[in-house]
């Protein structure tokens, strides 16, 4: 990219999909993606910090426009939670849904930033790649799903007691006959595995695919820079990227919404007795 050196398509995409990793131990597992973590923490601190700032100055009288905006978000999440979760929601479930929605929305929204400009900006931090969309890192989406999963199991045990939860593990959904215990247990294991997988991979897949399409379009623009009719490639790829970015607004918000709804649904299911 730099100083007229031409990149092959593979190199361009590989460059943009490289993580800013740091080895913290032996083996591939002990790698920290500093880019995903730092962007996630930054967005969480900014987004949730803003909410906490507004919440700390919240008045029950006439709200400012800023507070009205935050209350709009609050009401949106609260209404969605109320529709699905019929138990006491204010202590954990609704705040969790709000956190998940805000974080996923902000992390997804990083996809709107032009990748090459961001690569230029982050070049001083990491020369060989800096991914600014944490949700296109499967570790981030798995982390979110696992957090929700742990909460789900916690509430399941809390609602039914450890005995009730174990009983349900072996006696639902087919019946409590002892011959059905293995089938029930297998079924429940599959359910407990599939929930975080579908929860996280749906988000990851959408964001990753979106990023790849952006990369393909920008690669077209970059590669046409070294041809004689370069403006054609620039214009067409820019127009296509604009269209995709506009469509992506929908995807970003929709995936955040879906992730939040699934969080609420899973936590609601954890409270149900079979």
């Amino acid at each position: 990219m730099a100083a007229g050196t031409e990149l092959t398509s593979t190199e361009y995409i590989a460059h943009h999909l490289a993580f800013f990793g740091k080895q913290v131990g032996d083996g591939g597992f002990w790698t920290l993606h500093l880019d995903s973590i730092s962007v996630a923490v930054l967005l969480g601190v900014v987004g949730l910090g803003f909410l906490a700032w507004v919440a700390s100055g919240a008045t029950s009288g006439v709200p400012t426009r800023r507070q009205a905006l935050v209350e709009l978000l609050f009401d949106f999440v609260d209404n969605q939670t109320k529709g699905i979760f019929k138990h006491e929601r204010h202590s954990v479930v609704a705040p969790t849904a709000l956190t998940v929605f805000v974080l996923v929305l902000l992390m997804n929204a990083m996809d709107f930033l032009p990748v090459d400009l961001m690569a230029l900006a982050t070049h001083n931090i990491s020369e060989h790649g800096f991914r600014i969309v944490p949700t296109s890192d499967v570790n981030t989406t798995f982390a979110l799903a696992i957090t929700v999963w742990v909460l789900m199991i916690f509430f399941s045990v809390k609602a039914k007691g450890f005995g009730g939860w174990t009983h349900e593990l072996f006696c639902a959904p087919f019946g409590s006959h002892f011959l059905l215990w293995p089938a029930n247990f297998l079924f429940n294991m599959i359910e407990y595995l599939s929930k975080p997988l579908s929860h996280s991979l749906r988000l990851f897949g959408n964001m990753y695919a979106g990023e790849i399409i952006f990369l393909l379009l920008w690669m077209w623009a970059a590669n046409s820079s070294w041809t004689t009719d370069f403006y054609f490639g620039w214009i067409v790829s820019s127009l296509l990227a604009l269209g995709w970015a506009i469509f992506h607004i929908l995807i970003v918000a929709l995936q955040a919404y879906v992730f939040m709804m699934l969080t609420i649904v899973y936590l609601a299911m954890a409270h149900e007795h079979h």
């Binding site: 913290v24 131990g25 591939g28 597992f29 002990w30 790698t31 920290l32 993606h33 995903s36 973590i37 996630a40 923490v41 969480g44 949730l48 909410l51 906490a52 507004v54 919440a55 700390s56 919240a58 008045t59 029950s60 009288g61 709200p63 507070q67 935050v70 209350e71 609050f74 009401d75 204010h90 202590s91 954990v92 609704a94 705040p95 969790t96 709000l98 956190t99 998940v100 974080l103 944490p134 890192d137 499967v138 570790n139 981030t140 798995f142 982390a143 979110l144 696992i146 957090t147 742990v150 909460l151």
Partner: protein, 157 residues
């Protein structure tokens, strides 16, 4: 797509963020919104109460007005009656007074007439006596006396 320790680091980060929201964002917002909802509900209830109170007091005011109007009308009638009564009384008193005055005046006039008559009689008598003296100083002429006396008699009548 490679799972590594990033996942656990991120999970800790998210758990911390969820705790942060539970602790610092949700409760104050909820409290503010619920307090506002309560104050709005209270305000609406108070407005409703005020409206009812207004209706009740309007009704009572109407009743009071009717009473007052009736009482005022009664007072006016009473006053009118009293007025005509007083006028009648005054008329009667005036009539009686004038009658009394008239009677007194008549009595005085009669007395004056009587007194004048008495005075006249005395004067006439004196005249008669003076005439008689004059006649007696002359020679008595029975015939002439008789004529004179008759004449006197005629005058006295």
């Amino acid at each position: 797509m490679n799972i590594n320790v990033t996942m656990f680091a991120q999970a800790v980060v998210f758990a911390a963020f969820i705790w942060f929201t539970i602790r610092f964002i949700w409760p104050p917002l909820l409290a503010a919104i619920e307090a506002r909802q309560k104050s709005i509900a209270d305000g609406l209830a108070a407005a409703d109460q005020g409206r009812q109170a207004l209706e009740a007091s309007t009704r009572q005011a109407d009743v009071e007005m009717t009473h007052a109007r009736e009482r005022a009308a009664g007072l006016v009638t009473q006053a009118e009656q009293r007025m005509s009564q007083m006028i009648d009384e005054a008329k009667n008193a005036a009539r009686e007074e004038s009658n009394r005055e008239k009677a007194a005046a008549k009595a005085e006039i009669e007395q004056e007439v009587l007194r004048a008559k008495e005075a006249l009689r005395e004067q006439v008598a004196a005249l008669a006596i003076a005439g008689a003296e004059k006649i007696l100083r002359r020679e008595i002429n029975a015939q002439a006396h008789a004529d004179l006396l008759n004449q006197l008699k005629q005058e006295l009548k």
